[in-house]
Symmetry: C2
Subunit: 393 residues, 2 copies
Amino acid sequence: MSWIEDPAFTPDAPFGPQTLPYGVVPGGIAVRVGDRALPLRPLASLFGERLAPLVTAPTLNPLLAAGRPAWSELRAKLVELVTATAAPRGAELVGLDGAVLPFEVADYVDFYSSRHHAENVGRMFRPDGDPLLPNWTHIPIGYHGRAGTVVVSGTPVVRPEGQRRSSDGPVFGPSRRLDIEAEVGFVCGGPVASRLSPAKAVDHVFGVTLVNDWSARDIQAWEYQPLGPFLGKSFATSVGAWITPLEAFSAARVTPPPLGNDVLPYLVEDRPWGLDIRIEVEWNGVLVSRPPFRTMSWTFAQQLAHLSSNGATVRPGDLIASGTVSGPERDERGSFLELSWGGQEPVAVGDAERTFLEDGDTVRITATAPGGNGSVVGLSEVVGTIAPAVSEG
Amino acid sequence: MSWIEDPAFTPDAPFGPQTLPYGVVPGGIAVRVGDRALPLRPLASLFGERLAPLVTAPTLNPLLAAGRPAWSELRAKLVELVTATAAPRGAELVGLDGAVLPFEVADYVDFYSSRHHAENVGRMFRPDGDPLLPNWTHIPIGYHGRAGTVVVSGTPVVRPEGQRRSSDGPVFGPSRRLDIEAEVGFVCGGPVASRLSPAKAVDHVFGVTLVNDWSARDIQAWEYQPLGPFLGKSFATSVGAWITPLEAFSAARVTPPPLGNDVLPYLVEDRPWGLDIRIEVEWNGVLVSRPPFRTMSWTFAQQLAHLSSNGATVRPGDLIASGTVSGPERDERGSFLELSWGGQEPVAVGDAERTFLEDGDTVRITATAPGGNGSVVGLSEVVGTIAPAVSEG
């Protein structure tokens, strides 16, 4: 029995010793054990000269930069430490409250790798055309988002204002079609590198976190041609406070669904990196969707291979998000745009009905994946509550 | 007569005492005086307690964060120092070589604010439609680029590889339509802020630099729908090594050309911030274009007001670029795509002809603006030479 006696810290629980995600609490870098956090600074001397500076840094960035061998060594030592029968000297468990954004985001790229999502959006916005554009099955389509407005789970999301179409021409005001996008994010690290094969790309991914890519659909619809989404997305992107190491997902690997055509050699994986991450979306406490990440067509390894194929470098702190995760069923859609079919089919949220987000609404996204031997690996929640627009607050 | 006796450091010369751009050389932060640099570290004690740490930092970022009052105070002291008759103790002029990227880029946003450029591109790519999309005269259209691949002038640009269309379906290989975009960049600073009026936005701009937003048109054409440019741009964006303070441009202000419709109140400027910056583009030493920045329809103040209108924060180190600067005349176009009309009309480059860039080609962009009292303010060159693609090098 571990010195951490806690039913939330067993292999059956999502944050047992098989998971051990990293975050930053007021006491510095910590590892999540069940529903508490173990700050590592007081234990730094246990990790040796090479690792100690990485766990005493103010953010995870130095650890991200250290690369796979350091990540594996630290994780192995942590497993030993948290499963020991006696607490190490200086160990003190603290609450999860107060966790901050655990790393400085370098570049943020958002992909668009769910066929069901892309087809749903295509059907709504281009009803007369093919729901999928011809490049989609050949390229992991993506774009750069705003790194400076990535915020940690729990940060209130102020309803954005912006330009939207009206029958009297463009008007400026609070978004009326505020939406979520339930996504999975991959936090990059290792040496700065470019032109990565999918196999090499894997060593540049430190860990996994949930992402809510808040989206103002009315702002987006008016602005996005021809250069893509901008202010419809840039007001806030929420990420989980705890980054689950990629190593925890080895039992969750699956083969992604076929694209229907061959991909070019630079995108071919030797071992596929689809992941059986099961997402749940709660709207004001009501479970409204279960997006299945295993249905995504492009993997993070392919996404990183693609984004670095032109010579662009991948840096520690780069964040890539999967794009909205939507499965084939209605109750597997990862955005309210899709769930309400563009606002035409209201969604039952307990006794209420919703199309898009109202002020005061709270969205909570959680996920688990198989951890091997019947265990389950957790991804920390990403939660946010809508605050009124500044002009109305 | 100043102690800096140099014909390149007079009010008639672009880098005289009216300009004083900042950069970082191997000796630290420096100010450009004529064709040499004056490192500030040895002179730090002359600037006082508040400013000294800003000029001894490894990058300009702390100075960017310090805000307008510090920028003005430092500039006033520098003017005094470089125009004094006696050299201050410790002053030593060094060459401009070895200047590095002078600041860490936070977020990089590229706008699209030249009507002529937008119309030229529209005519080429959507020959049957209106050359300008309906949102263009209401919104300073823009998108996020890759901050991690912004490089300093002089950095070789390796020809990117990527996916492009072919008659046999998509293929991967070196870009065949490698292009430039001559732009003006604005380096942001001051306190982190959002929802800026155009007037307030001005105080969040530290200085101005030239930008070459290298573009692979074949990669871009295949990838850009529906989320905008990505790998066609992300391999490299070159910026000048020396940032000319915004204060140097007070005599260069002009009113931008009319948009043809009213703009919404959040974009209305009380005093317009168009700038009479005269750009020159040299291709292998031959002047091929003179893009006039005064023809741009949206100002940097409007661009910053727009990008922060949804609550997005502007941070020190944010870089916003104007978009390709193209005037109404053929020899005022800021991209080779436009100069060669999509490759159909080769451009005379001395005795040679060109459509897009060949390996070994060098592009040099320079600019000046009126500095008042007959003086001229310079923007440091942004230069780059094309290296062969990695698979062919």
